[in-house]
């Protein structure tokens, strides 16, 4: 096929998807902001997104903190710098600014992005979403808004817990494996931690929560066919939300820390 025809088709498809996602996002946000709210549905999603994600996010955080401490020590011992204070500082800044929110969000994208797309996708292909409409219920308000609200509230809380566990992981390795003094390590941690480190991480978490549920809902809502369509929607939800997390992470970091 002609190269220009291929290029044209690609651009048109891209613009079509972009337009559809934008309209979906605007309508989803409008539905989440305007009352009435389905409070019990929001509470159910808070439990699903927050409470049930705690084990996997906690495990990710503790091992990340531990390995960060270990690797930093290797680096510092090679370069001959004083290790104790620097390692505590690196662990706490890396965890609160970057690794805490990004890794927690990627884990939640795998868990919640996939389950949202699969659940809403199955409802789409089995006509349950059409049934909602015929029962005078707006699917955006009933299915999508509670998930968006819950994720924006829950992800920052989840990341806060993840930050604490991650720093504790670094502390464990620092004290028990590398032989640092607990007091010195904790003092160095607190001295190098700034309010903006935590704030930026929590802001990122709220944005990531929005993106994960938005992508899960979007791909589920537009799934076609049967089981295969739902499978494709699930893959697309996880891949697109993961990519958006990494892209938006860079943008938010630049907004917060570049003057």
């Amino acid at each position: 096929m002609n190269f220009f025809a291929l290029l044209g088709r690609f651009v048109l498809n891209f613009l079509e998807v972009l337009g559809r996602v934008t309209l979906f996002t605007l309508y989803a946000v409008k539905s989440a902001v305007k009352p009435p709210y389905y409070k019990s549905a929001v509470m159910k999603q808070i439990m699903e997104i927050g409470y049930y994600s705690l084990p996997v996010v906690g495990l990710t955080a503790i091992f990340t903190g531990m390995v960060l401490s270990l690797q930093s020590y290797t680096g510092f011992s090679r370069s001959g710098f004083g290790a104790e204070g620097s390692i505590a500082s690196i662990v706490v800044i890396s965890i609160t600014r970057e690794l805490g929110p990004v890794l927690a969000a990627l884990m939640v994208a795998g868990r919640i992005g996939a389950s949202t797309a699969a659940e809403i996708g199955t409802m789409r292909v089995t006509e349950q979403i059409d049934a909602l409409v015929t029962l005078s219920t707006n699917p955006f308000k009933y299915l999508i808004a509670p998930r968006l609200i819950a994720a924006i509230i829950t992800l920052p809380l989840l990341v806060l817990v993840s930050d604490i566990i991650g720093v504790y992981g670094g502390y464990l390795v620092g004290i028990h494996k590398l032989g640092f003094s607990p007091n010195g390590y904790l003092r160095a941690t607190l001295e190098s931690l700034e309010f903006m480190d935590v704030m930026s991480g929590l802001t990122k978490a709220a944005v990531f929560g929005f993106l994960i549920t938005l992508m899960g809902c979007y791909h589920g809502f537009h799934s076609k066919g049967g089981a295969q369509g739902v499978g494709i929607a699930t893959i697309n939800a996880v891949v697109s939300s993961s990519i958006l997390i990494l892209c938006s992470n860079y943008i938010i970091t630049q907004l917060f820390f570049t003057h």
Binding site: M123, T126, E127, Q128, D130, A131, V133, T134, L135, S136, T137, N138, Y142
Partner: protein
Amino acid sequence: MTDAKIKVSNLHKSFGSKKVLKGLDLEVKKGDSLVVIGGSGCGKSVLLKNIIGLISPTKGSVLIDGQETVKLNENERNQLMHKFGYLFQGGALFDSLTIWENIAFGLIQAERMDKKQAKEIAINKLNSVGLGSDVGELFPDEISGGMQKRVSLARSIATEPEIIFFDEPTTGLDPIMADVINDLIVKCSEEVGATTITITHDMSSVRKIADDVAMLYEGRFIWQGKKADIDHSGSPYVEQFIHGRAEGPIEIKLQDH
């Protein structure tokens, strides 16, 4: 002013380059039961979804009680939906809710009824489709296909709608259960005094449910008439369809492999 409950004029619907409905005209009077017959994939479900507004027609007009409904906004559409009940082909029961919550869904969400009262009505409707109150506490995946159809029927009549659509209500059921569903449709529709459109390719449903029959073929109605006239319609298409003959003017395209 017409006394038609539903009036469809020159309805067209295309999906990309595929024209599914090619200028349909249809009129159903208040309290009447119309059955639309036609082969698989001829656009019967698309017709119902266009009338109720689940999909928008490419061109044409849909009047409900004399009110044009094609270009309604979200709130107006929501209000209009109170008039409708819809039994979906696959049941479309919400699998995260119990049976009684499924039946009471419209009462609680749309009519803002309190849960206790809605549950009472749901259990009554469950009984009226021949299922015991104990079924109300189960989830949809814990009951059989025939029971799911009956629950779906109970859900579609729970809010006592003025218009009910039945999308292939007997597909996938054994003949006895299909007859039970047909009887229930007649009984429940009469109880709430609803105007109904049923789409099916099951001739026993047609003979039991219909006042009027219309046959859809290649996006147009090729025959419309009273149920009593269907056996001497004079249309070779209707003849072929009601007798289930492979040979006739309706050609099924088979792919060579």
